[in-house]
Symmetry: C2
């Protein structure tokens, strides 16, 4: 039975990515070797890395002067690599939830952290606005999409100091103005690939000024200079990422994807707002297109488990909300088809009719 | 045409690992989801992580009091995590080649490094012996197998100070006395899995005494305490590793593997010593069972390219030596069958007869 995969991450990937990864594991690029056992120094894998980087730049319209690197590990690794590279005296962070909090925690190991805004007062159900960015901080760190709490910053803000954004869960979901950022980074396991890869887009003139000696792997210049092959890259994950980028390009790129994502999000949020059994948990203007958080409406709380099981019976999986919010979370990443959202909406209607 | 894969890494893996990884990417553990898109918090993936850790401990006879963790990235990441955790004043390193040198370079970022022995004087063609381990160093770091230069330390030495060994390229190739080590670590991409995963075996009482504040991801306790799931693990690579461990167990474990590896290495080294066209580059007592380095004998240097092409014609691939040594390198990792080595030997004989 075909499942409708609403998992928050690792999460649904295009069937094309899955099929092509399988083919390459059986026979990579006509080498008669498996992608699992091919040298990253082979010309065939070099071509994979080159195309991945080129498509990454093309699809996000990365301007001149920016380097793109793929490194092992996850965004959690970057939480400390960022202050290691850039925090001399003080860094500014906006706290929008679990992942922002983790980033703040790691920055504190390296220096002073000014949490200039936070939505913790309302369980991270909104994106703070109207804060003042301190001009004397080394950088401002944001988390553009908050997977657990379902909020998203859909704007590329102006910052008087270098702007760094963790876009793990919304990269490639909309066009970006990369020039507004000093650095964009994220784990691959939402809109790009299986887990085990992190992407980094960084303005090259922001590098080389680290306030402390850097281990080679921490210095972003290492990875940019060596075409992400200073050490052995996670070849399978890079290959899957390339397949997703090819799929994305064929569908019309990030502008087309944004259109699809708006349509999917509107469909589901409209039903949440209409259906008397459910309610959204996030300030309307800050609702995420990627992770839709909702709970049972007041008076219907006891139906939560029943709805989850009802949805499961319709092959809708991964809908359980994070324990910090409870209820439900439907992750609508790029690869999730509109049909899956429609089925969820129909299921909510059917559940309402039955109660 | 079936290839005989002598690549140094990423390198040959058991066909079982390849086949089972493909099946899981098509349908993971009867979830009707792909391994590429399944939640690492699912009970099915939990079971994968638990079994991987349990088999790791069982096959290497890891004693009580040791933690085993799997982390993203590669051994290069550990080159700086190790001094970050353990280097208070001074660390002792033995320099046996490229990877040891890189580990030394990273340690120097954190404190004094005493290179107590080196084989650099003879292009790393032997393993230094008879050195004195300084009792006042925080730890001694070794590289047990040197993939580029083809030397291997086949003994678990006694050390008066905590012993740390990079076993990236010979883990699971022979039984180990883990109790001799404070820590063993390595990248997965030789005897275990595709690239993108590092294993760490560490004595728990060696932890928690870091001389500086540790970022969460650098502190090994994070990964041990959280069953290697503090952050999203590289699920596909972990799954492939599990398949290799199952394969290894079915074949009789590391003792049986050592027997096979000795047989393969003896077969090839005997031919190198017998064949007038070739010569080994490594001191006989330090020859690696994993990476066999050899060159054209004196007077036959001009045949190097011709031999590589001749071997390629027999479907023997990945034999080109690293530029630091030149000539040839045949990597005989666990998954390489004896038949591949026999074919290489036959090819060397045939080449000799033709010249």
């Amino acid at each position: 039975m075909k499942k409708h995969n609403f998992n928050p991450g690792p999460s649904i990937l295009p069937q094309y990515t899955i099929d092509e990864t399988v083919k390459a594991i059986q026979n990579f690029s006509n080498t008669d070797l498996s992608l699992l056992e091919v040298s990253h120094r082979s010309k065939e894998f070099d071509a994979v890395m080159d195309e991945t980087k080129a498509l990454f730049k093309e699809l996000l319209t990365v301007p001149e002067g920016y380097g793109v690197a793929f490194v092992g590990g996850g965004a959690s690794t970057q939480f400390f690599h960022i202050p290691y590279n850039f925090l001399a005296k003080k860094a500014a962070y906006v706290n929008t939830g679990e992942w922002a909090s983790r980033a703040i925690k790691e920055a504190k190991v390296f220096g002073e952290v000014d949490v200039i805004a936070s939505s913790e007062d309302k369980n991270f159900s909104y994106i703070p606005k109207g804060y003042t960015i301190p001009k004397d901080a080394d950088y401002l760190h944001l988390t553009s999409n908050n997977t657990i709490f379902g909020t998203e910053l859909l704007e590329d803000i102006n910052s008087p100091i270098p702007l760094i954004s963790d876009m793990s869960s919304d990269i490639f979901s909309r066009p970006l103005d990369v020039s507004k950022y000093a650095m964009i980074y994220g784990g691959a396991q939402k809109n790009l690939a299986p887990a085990g890869l992190t992407f980094v887009i960084v303005r090259e003139d922001f590098l080389g000024k680290a306030p402390r000696p850097l281990p080679t792997m921490v210095d972003y210049r290492t990875h940019i200079k060596n075409n992400s092959m200073y050490n052995t890259p996670p070849c399978v994950v890079v290959y899957s990422a390339l397949m997703t980028l090819r799929w994305l390009k064929n569908l019309g790129g990030v502008a087309a994807m944004e259109k699809r994502n708006i349509e999917k999000a509107n469909l589901l949020y409209s039903e949440i707002d209409r259906n008397k059994l459910f309610r959204g948990t996030v300030a309307k203007e800050d609702r995420s297109r990627m992770n839709v958080c909702f709970v049972m409406a007041s008076g219907s709380e006891q139906l939560e488990e029943e709805f989850l099981n009802f949805a499961k019976g319709k092959a809708l999986v991964g809908l359980k909300g994070h324990r910090s919010v409870g209820g439900f979370r439907a992750s609508l990443y790029n690869a999730l088809p509109l049909e899956s959202v429609q089925l969820l909406v129909d299921t909510m209607k059917e559940f309402e009719a039955a109660h």
